[in-house]
């Protein structure tokens, strides 16, 4: 696998040089990365984001893979990360999709404008050929002023040629040269910043550059973007000829996916399959093995015996580590035995849907509905993920456009989306009931979800952002890609949410030792018996729900309740406060004040709804 030595690199280079792969989402960058770097690759988290950056070596070069972006800027985490790598790159391999040049060359031109040495991999040539798209590659090279190598990476075509030509990467034709005034300005600002890439970002009003160099520079984003778009349109008009044939099979499927009459049944069928995989296969069989057999059967008893023979279990520290809510026992079992398999299952499904190109089409289908509650179609991603783990989904709300949308999404996630751990217990309890009660349960939760969203949409100031989303072609999923994404996201879950679960468990042990937990139980008891019509023992189940939402539901199984009572308590428990880990993520992602509002908001909503249902069905 030593491909690195094949390339001719000037042996006088002592300092390590950086090659950065950049391109739009889903253009096949990772195949190039894997080819160039071989098997010795390291993946590290980019601080402050859930994104991972893969890095590897090729001869004297360090090679970095960046998240897919449509342009360099600060619109989202992906762009910020890509921007930082691009600014510091020595050579950029820009991977473009040959069938989508009008879109992809915008980024290419931006990289060239940033005065970077660029080489373009004109990828997916096989698809372009299939679609009868002809591209004059020589002319494209002339227009851009940088080398262009045709490739079909998935079919292993052109990879070697690209690698051979990496050192011919050069600075291309900038748009600034078309406009004297702009060119002068660009030169002046470059002198000020001492860096051309940063100067371009500054003129394009990039947040981080504006805060670095001050806001006194001309704001030219619109002017530059328009000029760049015109140039790209001119280039594509000249070098690309489309003789598009009849719609392919994939294209007709894509059509049916976004027509409500066919799209909604397809979506429902898909959700059923996902449920079968996660709700049945992972939640029952995999969890039984990981949580039941391994963690509860071997791991926990082992830890307990170690702790009891060293520190002892009857003191505070022993309790903190290996007690009922022990950091080493309960937390570890919960994170690795229960949540991790479920979250991995969810990410596997999401990655497949993303790789196929279906995810943005779901966003289109549900956009109208989500608009009513102040969100747009894009919010379907954290909402789906919430059924896996609300804590992780709360972090994912970063992809939403505005603060307002994030508040709405986070509140709804905490309020009305039961996480997979809880869902398992709920399903077990509800299975004993008549269909009528199941309908009452599902309908109530749904109504509350819509009402709460509508309410927040009305009272929160400002306006939510609208949907603007690229619909990639429908393709078969690439297994390696899917597995890599699933792994990265699951690792991000353990890294981001793991410590929070541990902290939560510690907090609960402290609350229990100090007697605070009992005070809360005594205090809330009348509310449970009088208002909800439930036996006093259920109070403990509710309080346990604060710690882990599934604890709450699990606590109900040991109490004998009527069907009405089960329904009321399940509704109240589902709507009841998010688990302590989700709470802490809310504090971290938003603020203490907002988190407290959300916490009490859920508490109040849960009890009011539970009480009303209690009055209605009795």
């Amino acid at each position: 696998m030593d491909q690195g030595s094949q390339i001719n690199i000037d042996s006088n280079i002592e300092a390590e040089k950086k090659i950065v792969l950049a391109g739009n989402p889903n253009v096949g960058k990772s195949i190039f990365f894997n080819y160039l770097t071989g098997i010795y690759v390291s993946v590290s988290n980019y601080p402050g984001t859930t994104l991972d950056i893969s890095s590897g070596r090729m001869g004297n070069y360090a090679v970095y893979d960046t998240p897919g972006v449509y342009g360099v800027g600060s619109i989202n985490d992906e762009e910020r990360v890509a921007r930082d790598f691009i600014i510091s790159a020595d050579i950029i391999i820009n991977v473009v999709d040959a069938s989508h040049l009008e879109r992809d060359l915008f980024l290419t031109q931006q990289l060239i404008d940033m005065d970077k040495r660029v080489i373009v991999a004109l990828n997916m040539m096989d698809e372009a050929e299939k679609n009868n798209i002809e591209i004059d590659i020589k002319n494209l090279e002339n227009k851009l002023g940088v080398p262009v190598v045709p490739t079909a990476a998935a079919k292993d075509r052109g990879l070697f040629e690209l690698k051979e030509k990496i050192d011919s990467a050069c600075r291309g034709n900038k748009i600034f040269s078309e406009d004297n005034k702009l060119n002068q300005l660009y030169k002046n600002v470059s002198t000020d910043t001492g860096s051309s890439p940063e100067a371009v970002m500054l003129l394009e009003e990039d947040e981080s550059m504006v805060s670095k160099y001050g806001a006194d520079y001309p704001k030219l984003r619109e002017e530059i973007y328009t000029l760049r778009r015109k140039r790209v349109d001119m280039i594509t008009a000249e070098i690309v000829s489309y003789n598009l044939t009849q719609n392919s099979f994939a294209a007709s499927i894509a059509q049916y996916m976004v027509k409500p009459a066919t799209g909604i049944p397809m979506l429902l069928a898909l959700l059923f399959l996902i449920y079968q995989f996660i709700g049945v296969f992972v939640a029952q069989y995999v969890i039984e093995f990981t949580e039941g057999w391994f963690f509860m059967g071997y791991y926990e008893p082992f830890i307990r015996s170690v702790i009891s023979s060293t520190l002892g279990l009857d003191n505070f520290i022993g309790n903190l580590l290996a007690g009922e809510f022990g950091v080493l026992t309960m937390s570890a079992t919960y994170i690795f035995g229960l949540l991790m398999p479920l979250v991995a299952g969810f990410y596997l499904m999401l990655s497949i849907l993303e790789d196929i190109g279906y995810l943005p089409r779901i966003a289109v289908l549900v956009d109208k509905f989500l608009q009513k509650i102040g969100l747009n179609g894009r919010a379907i991603i954290p909402m789906l993920l919430g059924f896996g783990c609300v804590t992780m989904a709360t972090i994912t709300t970063r992809l939403l456009g505005t603060n307002r949308e994030r508040i709405i999404a986070i509140f709804l996630l905490g309020l009305a989306i039961p996480c997979s751990a809880q869902l398992g217990v709920i399903a077990g309890l509800i299975a004993k009931l008549d269909l009528f009660y199941v309908v009452v349960y599902v309908l109530t939760i749904f109504i509350i979800y819509v009402l709460a969203g509508t309410f927040l949409n009305k009272v929160l100031p400002g306006e939510s952002s609208d949907l603007l989303i690229d619909l990639p072609p429908i393709r078969l999923p690439k297994i390696l890609n899917v597995l890599k994404k699933t792994y990265q996201q699951t690792a991000a879950f353990v890294r981001e949410a793991g410590p929070i679960f541990v902290l939560g468990a510690a907090l609960i042990t402290i609350m229990e030792t100090t007697g605070f937990l009992n005070t809360v139980i005594t205090f809330t008891s009348p509310l449970i018996t009088d208002w909800l019509g439930l036996p006093a023992e259920t109070t403990t189940a509710f309080i346990m729900g604060i710690i882990r939402r599934d604890f709450g539901a699990a606590g109900l199984t040991s109490i004998s309740l009527t069907s009405d009572q089960i329904t009321v308590s399940l509704i109240t428990l589902t709507l009841f406060v998010p688990c302590i880990a989700a709470m802490m993520v809310m504090i971290k992602e938003r603020s203490l004040k907002e988190a407290v509002y959300i916490w009490f908001g859920s508490w109040i909503t849960a009890f009011i709804t539970g009480g009303i249902v209690n009055l209605l069905i009795f």
Binding site: R103, R221, Y225, V232, D233, V258, D367, L467
Partner: protein, 77 residues
């Protein structure tokens, strides 16, 4: 006429995008004032799907209302 009034299969020209943020993002996707676009789908009361060659993007209803268009003579390839 705005993008929200367009029908499936119709071809038209983008006249004006009345929102700076949308304008910037659309430019990146390859859609600017003066671009020739085809409507590749629309959901009742929901997003409009635009197509330019093989590139498809979906635009939410409110945003579509802020984009004015003019009709292009109907032609068939």
């Amino acid at each position: 006429m705005t993008l929200a009034d367009i029908k499936y299969g119709e071809k038209f020209i983008i006249e004006k995008i009345n929102d700076k943020n949308t304008r910037m993002q659309a430019l990146r996707f390859g859609i600017g004032e003066g671009s020739e676009i085809e409507c590749a789908g629309r959901l009742p009361g929901g997003p409009v799907i635009l197509k330019k060659n093989l590139q498809e993007i979906a635009i939410g209803r409110k945003m579509a209302e802020k984009i004015s268009i003019k009709e292009k003579e109907k032609e068939i390839f």
